[in-house]
């Protein structure tokens, strides 16, 4: 088995980690996990917690499925994957409720919806079932990071332009009832773009990110 002999951080393994960040990004290239990218990117903090939760679930499910890959009967493999993902998501939800109560309230239903995140099922089906646990681990870290980067970029623009804040801090100044009461940009008549807070703008932001990425990375452009 020549494959097993390669080093832990061989070129091939490293590319498992780095490809999903750009060339094979789950959101902008594979266009998976869009639903949650729209839903929880109104503010940065929940977006980051969501990204961490997805990373936790993806790493564990990818490694567990990879360990079980020679045991799982192929006819019920999807159900088994779903079962493991669902169990991990419930565990994350319970832990957040017990130890990070405020964050769990902020994410509310979206933690439960990690179960339906296509990235997770996609990686289990496409990668974990055919590769060993170490590679599955790297693949999970890579894909979850790729997801996280896009989420943070979207949330950054939505929170900044939509409510003039970053992590809840008013970075563009304080908006009072009148111009005189306002400080910062608001003093000069700047208005927040409420449209940024709605889901359609998240989709448009994803579109802009895909556009920028493809114009810089020409091998992604289909002929």
């Amino acid at each position: 088995m020549a494959e097993e002999k390669e080093g832990l951080f061989s070129k091939k393994n490293i590319s498992l980690l780095t490809d999903p960040l750009n060339d094979d990004n789950p959101i902008t290239v594979q266009v998976l996990g869009i639903c949650s990218a729209l839903a929880i990117t109104v503010q940065l903090k929940p977006a980051i917690v969501m990204a961490l939760a997805v990373m936790f679930v993806l790493i564990f499910s990818n490694v567990i499925i990879s360990l079980l890959r020679n045991l799982i009967p192929s006819r019920i493999r999807i159900i088994v994957q779903l079962l493991i993902v669902a169990a991990l998501v419930i565990i994350v939800d319970q832990i957040l409720k017990a130890y990070a109560y405020d964050v769990s309230k902020e994410l509310s239903v979206f933690v439960g919806l990690i179960i339906t995140n296509c990235i997770i099922m996609g990686r289990l089906e496409a990668f974990a079932l055919g590769n060993g646990p170490w590679k599955a681990f790297l693949d999970a870290v890579g894909n979850a990071s790729g997801y996280a980067i896009i989420l943070v970029i979207i949330a950054f623009f939505r929170e900044l332009l939509g409510s003039g804040k970053l992590f809840g801090y008013e970075v563009l100044g304080h908006k009072g009832r009148t111009l005189a009461e306002s400080t910062g940009l608001y003093h000069y008549g700047y208005e927040n773009n409420g449209f940024m807070l709605l889901a359609p703008m998240a989709l448009i932001t994803v579109g802009v990110i895909i556009w920028v990425q493809r114009s810089r990375n020409t091998k992604l452009i289909e002929q």
């Binding site: 929880i40 109104v42 503010q43 929940p46 045991l71 799982i72 009967p73 192929s74 006819r75 019920i76 159900i79 088994v80 079962l83 493991i84 169990a87 419930i90 565990i91 319970q94 832990i95 409720k97 017990a98 130890y99 109560y101 902020e106 509310s108 239903v109 939509g162 409510s163 409420g194 807070l197 709605l198």
Partner: protein
């Protein structure tokens, strides 16, 4: 054993399900006390926040004891029912009971020698439950503070009801008009007039949540009118 045989598939499924179920049951039972404690402390924190006591969750229990002097449960006619505990009363369940059997908890607080009446609220927003607490001054009319929360309102829009800028709008509003008739406080779309003591600015983009909130205030507060007028 053949991995594709029916017997193997069944055995695998059963074993997996049992292991996962046991794992989940274990997690849920171990974490349950911690979660319940979080919910209890948060409730105390929300109640005392309406009278201007800022507490973090850990010190909330102590401060709750210090400021909340009495916890009463009222019957529909405004008399006190001693048989029920105010703090653990589930408002959601109460709402489904016939009106005459419903019980209405109220907290009597005292801070710096002044008396306050804190009334818990419960209603429906756009997507799910909303709830909150509203504190009345010793005149039983002027609102000194409000605290709202929600289960699943739209982030950035209806979900803003739990933000302090919205809650602070309620300070100084009145629930009775000059004749002493109950009028409640409304969240007004497009903004309340500056001199309107019965209206606050609704949240733009969160109109349906605000309508639910207005409805909740009216429906819940009116149950306390007999008690507030009598005492």
């Amino acid at each position: 054993m053949d991995r594709n045989s029916n017997a193997y598939t069944f055995i695998f499924a059963i074993v997996t399900v049992v292991i996962i179920a046991a794992g989940l049951a274990f997690t849920a039972t171990t974490l349950k006390p911690l979660q319940a404690e979080n919910v209890r402390k948060e409730k105390m924190q929300n109640i005392i926040s309406t009278i201007g006591v800022d507490a973090n969750r850990d010190e909330s229990a102590e401060l709750f004891k210090k400021y909340i002097k009495k916890q009463l449960v009222l019957k529909a006619d405004g008399t006190i029912d001693d048989a029920v505990d105010a703090f653990t009363l589930d408002l959601k369940k109460e709402l489904h009971k016939p009106y005459a059997q419903q019980r209405f908890p109220i907290y009597l607080a005292e801070k710096d020698g002044k008396k306050y009446y804190i009334i818990p609220l419960f209603g429906s927003g756009l997507w799910d439950d909303i709830w909150g607490y509203i504190a009345l001054d010793s005149d039983k009319n002027t609102i000194v503070g409000a605290s709202f929360d929600h289960k699943g309102e739209t982030p950035g829009l209806g979900a803003e009801i739990n933000q302090s800028w919205f809650e602070d709008e309620f300070k100084g509003k009145k629930i009775f008009d000059d004749n002493g008739d109950f009028v409640s406080v409304k969240a007004v779309k497009g903004g309340a007039k500056p001199d309107d003591v019965h209206g606050v600015d609704a949240i733009s983009g969160g109109t349906l949540t605000c309508n639910g909130l207005t409805h909740m205030l009216e429906e819940r507060l009116k149950n306390y009118v007999p008690y507030l007028k009598k005492n």
